[in-house]
Symmetry: D2
Subunit: 338 residues, 4 copies
């Protein structure tokens, strides 16, 4: 780390900082500049204490990190792309992955019809929420275990693999009995206890980026999964919170390229949450593929206008067929098969 001292720090004050750097286990290397002194603290920032606490001293202006904070998630530690095996479906390899299905599981009819439709159009993984994190306690909270049962039945009927969200540490075990991928939602992206619990299952985990999570923090959240022994991690960009009000969130497609550059983990894009509007979904899917995404997670519903949650961002069966057709030229452009 680099400790920047205020202009005019006295020799005694500089010595005090040097002494603290030693106490905290780093080797200090002072550099006397034209206007200010800086002290380079040599040592592994990931195994020693963070020196930012030194800004508590009045003569310290700021502390700058040098090293990256994530290890196992980094491209340096694992140069090749990780390919995750989702019950036989590879994610992150040359084949592109379509995950699709309703926001919430509402009924057998709704789920099975959607599963058939998305399978016919080219999806290999079925999404559907049985536990729903809703902003208001008065909104539909999901069918729970009955929803999981319907998801299992949909898998039996279609062969599609299942991705479904888990909200509670206590649900991880039984959700993992149904799910082929455990989905961690944006609001739980830094719910570290939930991450640790999911890591224990060894099931593939799709980790959504938090609403205002920096990319570094997102990779550090994935590091919780990896460091607790689960290498089967997929990242999912689903829009960040900005000042813009035209869309519900601002899908950060640059984050796809950055995550692929910094990390070896597969990156999935959720355009439905990303914009919150059905009319932009296809365009965002084209952009996501061009930016290097490994797959898409798309909300599809038989009659979006009557959906029990987030109807405004769900597309119809026809819409999903159109989407898969529309993205083909971009899959060709990136040399990927569907």
């Amino acid at each position: 780390m680099i400790i920047v001292l205020r202009p005019g720090a006295s020799p005694a004050q500089i010595d005090e900082v040097i002494a603290e750097v030693k106490i905290l286990g780093y080797e200090p290397s002072p550099i006397i500049g034209v206007a200010q002194t800086v002290i380079a603290a040599i040592g592994d920032e990931r195994t020693h204490q963070n020196l930012e606490s030194l800004t508590a001293l009045p003569q310290v202006e700021s502390v700058l990190r040098v090293q990256k904070r994530y290890k196992l998630a980094s491209r340096e530690s694992h140069p090749a792309n990780s390919v995750i095996d989702v019950a036989g479906v590879p994610v992150g390899g040359p084949q592109f992955t379509f995950m699709a299905g309703p926001c919430s599981v509402e009924s057998a009819d709704q789920l099975f019809a959607t599963a058939e439709a998305v399978k016919a159009a080219g999806a290999t993984i079925l999404r559907g929420g049985a536990y729903k994190p809703r902003t208001s306690p008065y909104e539909f909270q999901g069918l729970g275990k009955e929803g999981l049962r319907l998801l299992r039945e949909a898998r039996e009927r279609t062969g599609l693999k299942i991705i479904t969200e888990v909200l509670s540490e206590r649900d991880v075990e039984h959700v993992a009995e149904t799910a082929d991928i455990l989905q961690i939602g944006a609001r739980n992206s830094q719910n570290f206890q939930l991450l640790i619990e999911c890591a224990r299952t060894q099931k593939p985990v799709l980790l959504k980026r938090g609403l205002s999570e920096r990319i570094e923090e997102w990779l550090l959240a994935s590091e919780y999964l990896l460091a607790h022994g689960n290498p089967n991690v997929m990242l999912c960009e689903r829009g960040i919170r900005t000042f813009e009000t035209y869309t519900r969130n601002t899908l950060d497609l640059s984050a796809v390229a950055i995550a692929k550059k910094e990390s070896h983990l597969p990156v999935i894009v959720d355009p439905s949450q990303g914009c919150g509007r059905a009319d932009l979904v296809i365009a965002l899917c084209c952009g996501a593929i061009a930016m290097g995404a490994d797959g898409l997670l798309v909300e599809v519903h038989p009659t979006p206008a009557e959906a029990w949650s987030d109807g405004q961002q769900q597309i119809t069966f026809d819409g999903f067929r159109d989407l898969v057709a529309a993205v083909q030229p971009f899959l060709t452009a990136v040399n990927r098969t569907a």
Copy 2:
């Protein structure tokens, strides 16, 4: 709700929307405007389905809510200020509350010395983290149960009440045995399962605002606690995430006035997290009191430069004494006692 149709929507398209509004349980009232038609949907928005799903129809431009989404947290439902009884210490009444202590519980010496110092300066509630949500898995995660034991001993020694954070649903029960206030951190502000679990304990809960949580969403999160039967809720503003980099977060003091206006719940301000810099803490405390805060949650450490977490934002014992002295004129200005 108000459904805005696109310019040029045909009579058949208007009728389709009117029919959907009826299906979803509202009474439609169309208004033909100069440029566009709008349909007012009459009905209780809190007990009916959200009509935003209608924007899935191509002729619908947007859907505007009319009603507020929170009920139990609202000033309308409870015009008087709520005063929470924290094991005999009232929060939210005429008496102003100082909560202070270290970011993390590190050792008996550190905790007990801090407890004595903050008590001597005027605090009535001791803060201290036993479970720490850290951005990186390689950072200090808290002393856990040993930390809770030390907090209990500090209470016995000083009589201070205890506020400590709970991260995991599975910890709620045993943390509640120690804590007089369960603290929900910013990253868990919309961890609804954790909120529901905390509600069950009937213990006072301090609910921090999420990093990018709108005030409406924060009040809806508090509504989860209230609707699950726990009226002992305090709100805590602790800084929001913005583009500014001078401070770690941007403390949103206007949120204090807004929360007091919209809600009857006590509002506490955390200036330490709010700015992430010890040198701004006193100024922010003065501002918080002027804006109507009911209390402060301040990080205090014997030697901040050597703290195991967030040293840069912790103040010394002398600093806390200075703080309590500095805010007195503002307590006088708002007619509150310390």
Copy 3:
């Protein structure tokens, strides 16, 4: 507009609002809801006064707009794509446009070498700043008129058209003598006097989106150009300011699709400013094309490490050749020629 009254507004208070709505020139249409009354105010929102002022009345909770605020920029007013004639080079039609060149004009050698290189790679328009808006007054402010002279000479040598930024109303006239496109930078996106002055020249104008400008506001800024009689307007997405720190700005590629949907104006993407890092430029260009952009504005420099401004985001001559090659498959995918 829709005026939402507070729950419990009295009949006299409702009448007061109805009377104000009439005074302000709208026809009021009250709707009595279950919990609240709303008053629809019928009239053209673009030719009447904004009713948001009514929230100054205590019984008014909020005022919701119905109509879009932009007219000439809207797709409704001009369903076909606008194609701008830049001294013979069409922008916004089937042909895709590459604009490239240095951030700042530094010298004859630097500019002419860059012009030759970008022309050889496929660019038809040369960028180069003669007047630079710099955050600090101590940074290089551009070569001014000498820079313009060099740009004219580069045009004579290569036949490339010229895009260059104008900062000052007083410079508009003489910059327009050199420029084929007047560039309005992000910091001046709502400098309406500068926009009006540029409109007068009838020259094509490229209007960058402001750092925290909503898409509606960006289109309204373009409306200043259009309403002052200049139809030759191009929009340019160049990144918005968010909480993310990995990149200098967050390029909002969804804004490309939205601007194309809402408006008929060509949309150009500036990936260099958009991320502030040379290593992401190619990926962002691919994404921009997939999202429907009509052209790119790319910073290219002979030796970026020694550039007088923003070297970190400029690519080399080889880099630009690689970029043009890398995007070909995406141009094919969108059926555009280069």
Copy 4:
């Protein structure tokens, strides 16, 4: 500056960076760390070129600044508070300043009545916009020169000093004939040519913070005024753009304390723009004073519901009297006279 090299940079690559650092005029001082090498570049960052361009080299991971970028605006360069003489009214000294008046000058009656009312309540400076920067070209743009004439007449009638906004470089000279303070609005905060033009007049200038301007950038914008020879600069916090939608902007009161700490310039707070809602204005004024503001800029109108611009944030004459009374205890708390 500190140049951080990527892990694994070769000796030749390190030498290349060292050579570039010398070319760019700094003295390099390499430090070999455990995981990475960093090179401290010794030299005055304000008089040399920015080394961030070195990140164009593949072996450079990042470049960290050490020095502050503003000089004349800094507390270090001028430890005492600057007190600005506004035609005899001191701003920034022990006396607190109330600036008040309508958003826009609408008529003689409106302006003179407001001037009398705010003077009677304690204001010494009258605000009123003659030139209005409006998001849409179809909104009221101000009375222009007739508005200035009315402001002069209001000054003659009441003795109040005048603050009014200037939008155009071409208007600076004639606006300065009327104004005692030239106001630079948030949208023009980085319109550097306008700042330079205002600097030339030697008139006091009130510089509003831009919608998404970092505090460092705001101080650098003030540095444009100072470096061009005008020391009569006041800063004005007026709310930043965030994700929050309850208010129009988020008033950043922490910025008041930071600006007072970093700089010697007076800091004024505009609560009306800051929240965009009349009902929060008084609370924000109390907070602003507690945080160390030197004055307030408040919008006051005879009948806000009928105001030609921003009625929702303007308060009545009675409201302003109440405001001045309400803030007295806080002025007492900060030892300031009104």
